[in-house]
Symmetry: C2
Subunit: 134 residues, 2 copies
């Protein structure tokens, strides 16, 4: 929405698509999905993160896989290959204690953000509907 034209929702829409993926808060949602699932592979997480996504824009797999890779590099998740079973090999991810703590940090950040956003909205509305604004 903020910048230019939205390919997903067409023109004249105000959506969150133009916010990048960091803005779409992929990381906390992935951490949460992993906490719910216990152990899961990326392809599997795709649908779960979509349900819990904070914005209306699609979380695409490129950013999902890269987020998982980065979470592993930071020690927030671990992974192991599962080669047996049918179909291609799956990389199974699991949350580490550090990952759970990181999610709690995200929760605090998002709580604060939710608050300031709510206040901002209230401020704008109050100013827009102020009595002197005939």
């Amino acid at each position: 929405m903020p910048r230019g034209y939205c390919r997903r929702h067409g023109p004249g829409q105000h959506c969150t698509c133009a916010m990048g993926h960091l803005y779409r808060f992929v990381e906390p949602v992935v951490l949460y999905a992993l906490m719910l699932k216990g152990e899961a592979h990326g392809y599997d997480l795709a649908s779960v993160v979509q349900e819990h996504a904070l914005t209306d824009a699609e979380i695409e797999k490129a950013s999902l896989y890269r987020t998982l890779k980065q979470l592993e590099a930071n020690g927030h998740v671990t992974s192991r290959w599962e080669t047996d079973g049918s179909g291609p090999a799956r990389r199974l991810y699991r949350l580490t204690p550090s990952g759970e703590q990181h999610l709690q940090e995200w929760v605090e950040v998002l709580e604060h953000l939710s608050h300031t956003m709510g206040q901002f909205v209230a401020n704008v509305r109050a100013y827009t509907n102020r009595p002197t604004d005939k």
Copy 2:
């Protein structure tokens, strides 16, 4: 916070600094500041946007000026030079009707985002403190 180390708050902090400026929601804050001020120049807005910023990270002037330039390109603000008066010339900005409407669109987006974030926070907390989680 999400990625790596924060230069502003040091290590071990969970802040919003690592979110980019789009993430810091500069645009709606600039629009609101301009609505409050009526007419203002960039340097002047710098302090006002800081007060109303949605995150704890500094909104730096590079992004402020670029946001203003872009808002003008999209017809959300107009500008004129004020050369008289002492000191260097100032570029005075003013909100257009389109800009006011754009702020209202932002308000809807932010309201939705504030809601989903609040719910996400509640969900994580509920799951973390669930009875079966001995």
